[in-house]
């Protein structure tokens, strides 16, 4: 047994477990290049509207997934750690929801306010 100072032996275990073949890294690397090129193409060819947003999000999610899963070794981790890492950030969606409600309201209020200013500041009609 190769105990370290704090009595843990996982050092050896970890190193034995982590001998992944190199091929998987090269494949993911190429995929990341292709996906980046595709997301750049979305802008280069000026795809607009819902299709643009859909493609941007699709390529973003695929790239992020590949990086987390393979480059950050998530697929080889135990679920105890996977859930600890992936579930808390989902809470950020709450923040996004609140933020978008707030932003719409602010946009509306600004519209009303600036419209009022425009009307009040308009030069008096020559008929009066």
């Amino acid at each position: 047994m190769d105990h370290t100072a704090d009595g843990h032996t996982q050092v050896v275990r970890e190193e034995e477990a982590i001998q992944h073949p190199l091929g998987v890294y090269f494949k993911i690397w190429i995929l990341l290049f292709v996906l980046s090129a595709l997301s750049y193409a979305v802008d280069f060819y000026q795809v607009q509207g819902y299709l643009r947003w859909f493609l941007i999000l699709l390529f973003m999610v695929l790239k992020a997934g590949l990086i987390i899963a393979v480059f950050m070794h998530m697929v080889w981790e135990r679920l105890a750690m996977v859930y600890f890492i992936l579930l808390p950030p989902v809470l950020l969606l709450t923040l996004v929801a609140i933020g978008s409600l707030e932003a719409d309201w602010t946009f509306f209020q600004r519209g009303v306010y600036f419209l009022k200013e425009l009307i009040l500041e308009a030069p008096a009609s020559p008929h009066h």
Partner: protein, 239 residues
């Protein structure tokens, strides 16, 4: 794998969901078979996710709520190499540089676990240099925007004033992360080349013996930096 090399508590590790409940209810450490440095790095990265998440959520809020038109990133970040300006080309190159560095980092981790000292060293050095290239291009991007385009945190000639504040805050914070990563990549390529990870030489700060696991932990940070860029690229530059 021989059982002698396994920790006593990892002998009956269950796979899947049963393992998840077992690990978390074991009344011991929850992350079985994970070096504490790696668990700590993940905890840090989850908290960093919240920082960048807050940045991007506030960016969404100011962009939706402004009445002025949002400047077109495609045009602002266009560059011309003698001919017609190519849209967003600088950012595209930066993206490819960062992805290349992520690939060399992943290979460095792999060769580290194979105890291949010199390949690990060269791959780490390549990652550091690619990271430095990225920061250099960001410096160019910032100076072009500040000096030539007149972009300020409080306003710019192209449209909504919030464009500048979001740009400097988000890319600045990300660039800071890259810079810290580059420093640590240089430190660790030095440590690898000197054989500190083979000899388990004590670090000057933590006094822990060197180990190739540290390369994986450094790799987690570096991949996270690349990961954040994926989101910035999508939401700030492409949206």
């Amino acid at each position: 794998m021989s059982t002698e090399t396994m920790a006593p508590d990892s002998l009956e590790l269950k796979p899947g969901l049963a393992g998840f409940f077992d690990d978390w209810s074991s009344d011991q450490r929850a992350f079985k078979g994970v070096p504490w440095g790696k668990a700590m790095m993940w905890i840090f990265l989850v908290s960093d996710t919240f920082i960048f998440g807050c940045f991007l959520a506030s960016y969404m809020t100011v962009r939706v709520s402004t009445l002025d038109p949002w400047p077109s990133a495609s045009e602002v970040f266009a560059l011309s190499f003698g001919g017609a300006p190519i849209p967003l080309i600088l950012i595209a190159i930066m993206t490819f540089v960062l992805i290349t560095s992520s690939g060399t980092m992943a290979l460095a981790v792999n060769y580290g676990y194979r105890k291949n000292k010199w390949v690990t060293f060269w791959l780490l050095l390549a990652t550091a240099l690619l990271g430095a290239t990225f920061v250099g291009m960001q410096v160019f991007e910032w100076s072009k925007l500040i000096l030539e385009e007149g972009v300020r945190p409080w306003g710019n000639p192209m449209g909504a004033a919030q464009f500048g504040s979001v740009f400097f805050m988000v890319t600045g914070f990300h660039g800071f992360h890259v810079s810290i990563g580059v420093i640590f990549l240089f430190i660790f390529s030095y440590k690898v080349a000197r054989g500190h990870l083979d000899d388990q030489t004590q670090g000057w700060f933590t006094k822990r013996g060197g180990n190739y696991e540290e390369i994986e932990i450094l790799g987690l940070y570096w991949h996270f930096v690349d990961l954040v860029w994926v989101f910035i690229f999508a939401f700030f530059y492409l949206w």
